[in-house]
Symmetry: C2
Subunit: 154 residues, 2 copies
Amino acid sequence: MTDLSGRDLVLTRLIPAPPAALYRAWTEPELLKQWFAPKPFTVAEAETELRPGGTTRIVMRGPDGTEFASSGVYLELVENARIVFTDAYTRAWEPAAKPFFTGIITFAPEGGATRYTALARHWTDEDRAAHEAMGFHDGWGRCADQLADLAARL
Amino acid sequence: MTDLSGRDLVLTRLIPAPPAALYRAWTEPELLKQWFAPKPFTVAEAETELRPGGTTRIVMRGPDGTEFASSGVYLELVENARIVFTDAYTRAWEPAAKPFFTGIITFAPEGGATRYTALARHWTDEDRAAHEAMGFHDGWGRCADQLADLAARL
């Protein structure tokens, strides 16, 4: 884990699955539901409108039933290689209450496996620090483990 | 001119030119330079990388030679119909110091002319008010006159 700048949080893993399996797990709602929330949280709803400007919407559910909805838009999709999205818009092109971060997810072939990199780039240093304090590394790390487990089975 | 919400500033004109002429004037750098700055300001440089995520960069020059550079990225381009861009990024996907607005420009056929609508949608009510105080209606209005003059000659 390396911070490339004061505004970035980064998680990277070498995952023993092909880029196409990871891209599917990120883009197909039924697969996304299986790994995107750190257990015991679950994903109750997942929407992935796969085009620039398309909506991405996730509803997580806590063990007590409380639901947490988040939405954003895709900015860039390169099949099996790269996904960029942001929460600065709730849908095209409705400004969110607060632009918080841009997610840049890359899948790069590396020695028969895939170098998986999830970068969260914030508009301010303060937001990066808040995201880290909210448990970015632990949360995204546990989800990456769940993603690797799922991808190995695809 | 109508404000659709507290965060929007809108300018609309019926321009006697086809949508394709207005789209060209918005996207071809040599045409953009002829109308995008309210005279006596001029456009010294214009870059239009026409794809979602492509850079749009304009350098305006004041009568005393002072230059003002601004840059953003395109979010959506529908030929002859619609252009969406934002200053929330300086290029794909570098967060700007401050996300200020999203520009939604539409060209709709209307009775042999074109309904031209330039909407500036801000992240906050305060930013909308600041943009209005900076002279949005006068500045964009004078540019729309220049745009109409140019489009009539294309």
